[in-house]
């Protein structure tokens, strides 16, 4: 089915078109929801909610964006909604993962090149798994922004709109999130192959 035919069918609420959308884009949406929620059951619920919300909002789809982009934003929003309704534990401060400096502004530690290029290191399942669990470890405020900007590819402005904050706050969270992630993954990438 062409994008044009999909859009046409989507607007008219054609059941077969929705089935095609579920089968074509569902896997990607589930991947996104799993990353954001780290919980299989919640991720499945988020995907289901996303398709229902998409169905309800079908008349508002303008066709300016691709359907895949539109569904992507919807699943991000349903996942965030789930995150917000979860019982929150107090968020761990990010400071302990940030680089440290001496009073004169120098780094407190020495940094050296990692043992191998990341594409080589990440070719190993175990290392990829460790990087994913490092992302999971990030405090939620930072993790969400890192996922939206660096993994899902939203712009700063789009991310700000999705998480309901200012572009400047997004930039600060992204930067700190990346710094913290570096601290968390460095032990797994610094040395030789494991």
């Amino acid at each position: 089915m062409t994008e044009g035919a999909l859009i046409e069918g989507l607007r008219s609420g054609d059941e077969h078109v929705f089935e095609t959308l579920v089968r074509t884009y569902g896997g990607r949406l589930l991947s996104v929801a799993r990353r954001m929620l780290n919980n299989e059951e919640d991720a499945r619920d988020a995907v289901q909610d996303a398709f229902i919300n998409a169905f309800r909002a079908r008349a508002t789809f303008k066709g300016e964006a691709k359907i895949s982009t539109w569904l992507h934003s919807i699943v991000v929003n349903t996942s965030l909604m789930k995150l917000r309704t979860r019982k929150r534990k107090a968020e761990e401060p990010i400071e302990s993962y940030l680089p440290r400096f001496l009073p004169d502004g120098h780094h407190t530690q020495q940094y050296a090149s990692w043992a191998e290029p990341v594409d080589v290191a990440l070719g190993r399942k175990a290392t990829a798994e460790r990087v994913r669990s490092a992302i999971e470890t990030l405090p939620e405020t930072y993790r969400t922004v890192v996922l939206l900007r660096d993994i899902e590819g939203f712009t700063t402005a789009e991310t700000a709109e999705i998480v309901k904050t200012t572009p400047n706050a997004v930039k600060i969270r992204l930067h700190r999130g990346r710094l913290a992630l570096r601290t968390l993954i460095a032990p797994h990438l610094a040395g030789a192959a494991t």
């Binding site: 579920v22 089968r23 309800r56 990829a128 990346r178």
Partner: protein, 80 residues
Amino acid sequence: MNCREISEFLMDYVGNTLDQDVQQTFQAHLTQCTNCYEYLSQYRETIKAGQLACHDDDVSELPDDLVRAVLAALSKEPRT
């Protein structure tokens, strides 16, 4: 610029959004400071590592039972 200040500008440097004069000061520091040079390269690699690790885990299809659950839920939605 000292190493602490350099670390604050990493994102803008990587994203190519630094003002030209700041960028020159930034680069001048990097040529003299191996530590910041290495830190910058790890910062870049971290972004790439996150992307590789996450997309490595992507699934292309929904499990069948979830497809059925979604379609069943959709069929209960009012059509108009």
